[in-house]
Symmetry: C2
């Protein structure tokens, strides 16, 4: 039993849920991605809109760049020093599914009394979009029947 | 529309992504839910399989019970003292979507070299299940076209 709690070798976990959480598993990282999905890219904008202390924001941005979720670009406004902006990579955009899953869960079980802050839309048609489990044949499945089952690399059974 | 900004009273955030992350936004909480979805319920089982220090596990379990994600039940084995086990509520089971979203993201962008630990299956047919965005008419949408847009309670625009 168990686990080097302090040493933290990089990406040692086999389970992809654990591996994902090692990259983005705390509140600020996913909120930064949420705001990036809204089109925010500048340090000051993220800091002000998230209400996050600058040192924590800087550390989380560095981790997200390191993890391949964000890409850092430099820019310079007239008469100003060089600054950096942060943009979602393909890997970062793909976290949209995680954020929508969290959003739907929150809206169902802990709704904001004043209504929804954010909605999920198909921008090509304007219709509401929601997450569902689908089968290989493209049919929508009953979520009750969907389970996580051991894969080929499972080291424990359940 | 009320906007308590700086004071940070409990669960005051309007955005359901933020509200969800306030409940489950760190690694251990979601890993506990992962293991609960695998059928683990006892303190010792979770502690050993997660490799989590007992005091942290106890604190996270208490938070998850408080948040309505887990329900605590007492049990007693012959000749032993009373102990407690932890079971997913309906709200807890609904986090399956969040965990599968994390799993799919990890499998795509940070795959385990030895293969997948966990697979998502429709247990009624055995077929592979995956998450997709669907429209109100039940059609599967192109994820590229799906965006988070401001809802009625948005206090900023994007």
């Amino acid at each position: 039993m168990v686990t080097p709690t302090n040493s933290r070798p990089k990406k040692e976990h086999h389970c992809s849920i654990h591996r994902s959480l090692d990259l983005v598993g705390e509140k600020w990282s996913l909120l930064i991605v949420r705001n990036a999905l809204r089109g925010e890219s500048r340090f000051s904008q993220l800091r002000d809109n998230l209400g996050i202390p600058s040192d924590i924001l800087a550390a989380r941005l560095a981790s997200l760049v390191d993890a391949g979720v964000l890409e850092r670009r430099s820019y310079r406004e007239q008469g100003e020093r060089e600054r950096f902006s942060y943009h979602l990579t393909e890997q970062g955009f793909a976290l949209k599914t995680v954020l929508v899953a969290l959003q739907e869960w929150g809206d169902e079980f802990s709704p904001n009394p004043g209504g929804r802050v954010s909605l999920t839309r198909d921008t090509s048609t304007g219709q509401h979009a929601s997450l569902a489990f689908v089968g290989d044949d493209g049919s929508v499945l009953d979520a009750q029947n969907v389970s996580l089952v051991p894969g080929p690399a499972a080291t424990i059974s359940w």
